[in-house]
């Protein structure tokens, strides 16, 4: 599980650098790793506040960036239903992009296996993120601006995408989503991402509804 965190490592370090550059309190910036646990949301909040935006406005933008997590919640609801209550309340805390994607990639038909795998993945990523964002803050003065391996996170998402695809209809959805995301990539606050996901899911819903 630890090696799968590697692609996120440059981002954890970069977040640390962003905290220091934004001028917000280092401890406060780092606390967002524990309280929010979501790289893009944390980067959005800290950057906006550092640029002088009102905290209330920065929160609104941050929540837009996080909105895709609602879809993860819908998708995993059937899997969580059969789980113990403590897990249904604890699990969502670590429901980030990578953890969600890993549940879609692995064959986890057994409910106990699902829970164990989910918790292991979720809290490994959580621990590594908290550790390396803290390290990023401490090492900020010696970390170069472009680490040069930002491509790693794209590779990770591409790999997760390919491993998650099981049916031809999903290939169509992925291609459509990628195309729309590219077309709307100029929108602020990663809105293009949400437009792409919602639009491609609408098309997928119509297709699946007709075929069943």
């Amino acid at each position: 599980m630890v090696p799968l965190f590697l692609p996120a490592l440059p981002f954890a370090l970069l977040f640390g650098v962003m905290v220091v550059e934004s001028g917000v309190s280092k401890l406060l910036g780092w606390s967002s790793s524990v309280i929010m646990f979501g790289g893009s949301a944390q980067m959005t909040l800290i950057t906006l506040v550092g640029e002088g935006a009102a905290v209330s406005a920065a929160i609104t933008t941050t929540l837009i960036v996080t909105a895709r997590h609602i879809l993860y919640s819908v998708t995993l609801a059937p899997r969580f239903q059969v789980q113990p209550r403590w897990f249904r309340w604890l699990g969502p805390y670590v429901l980030i992009d990578q953890v969600f994607a890993l549940t879609q990639v692995r064959d986890l038909s057994d409910d106990d296996d699902f829970r164990r795998y989910y918790l292991t993945a979720g809290f490994t990523f959580w621990g590594m993120w908290v550790l390396f964002t803290g390290l990023g803050i401490v090492l900020a003065p010696i970390i170069p601006e472009g680490i040069g391996i930002e491509i790693a996170i794209t590779l990770m998402f591409l790999g997760l995408l390919l491993m998650a695809i099981r049916r031809r209809a999903q290939v169509v959805t992925a291609a459509l989503s990628a195309g729309i995301a590219l077309g709307f990539a100029h929108l602020d606050n990663q809105l293009g991402l949400i437009v792409a996901v919602v639009a491609s899911l609408c098309v997928a819903s119509v297709t699946e509804w007709r075929h069943s």
Partner: protein
């Protein structure tokens, strides 16, 4: 509002979104048709994330031939070996090698 409370609110918001359906839809039976539609969420989000991480703030592609070649190798090796980690390691090795050669 202080930044601390901003972080707390953003954290609560993120948790609420992640927990929303997991907690609310307790005891609801999902028809097969809905499950089949939910199968599309992963591919849709991951594909959009690939594109988003490759584009800059004004929507331009920020990847050159080396990046695209690396992505191609990632795709090829991952599909061939059916292993994410092997794909990642090979792709990153090629990426570093190409950058070293071209530097």
């Amino acid at each position: 509002m202080s930044l601390f409370w901003g972080i707390v609110l953003a954290g609560l918001g993120a948790y609420a979104m992640r927990a929303s359906f997991v907690v609310l839809l307790q005891g609801v039976t999902f028809p097969d048709r809905v499950i089949r539609i939910l199968d599309h969420v992963g591919p849709a989000v991951m594909a959009a994330l690939v594109v988003t991480t490759l584009t800059g703030p004004s929507g331009q592609l920020e990847a050159g031939p080396v990046e695209f070649l690396t992505l191609g190798i990632m795709a090829g090796v991952t599909l061939w070996r059916k292993d994410l980690l092997i794909g990642l390691l090979v792709a990153l090795a090629v990426f570093f090698a190409l950058n070293a050669v071209l530097a």
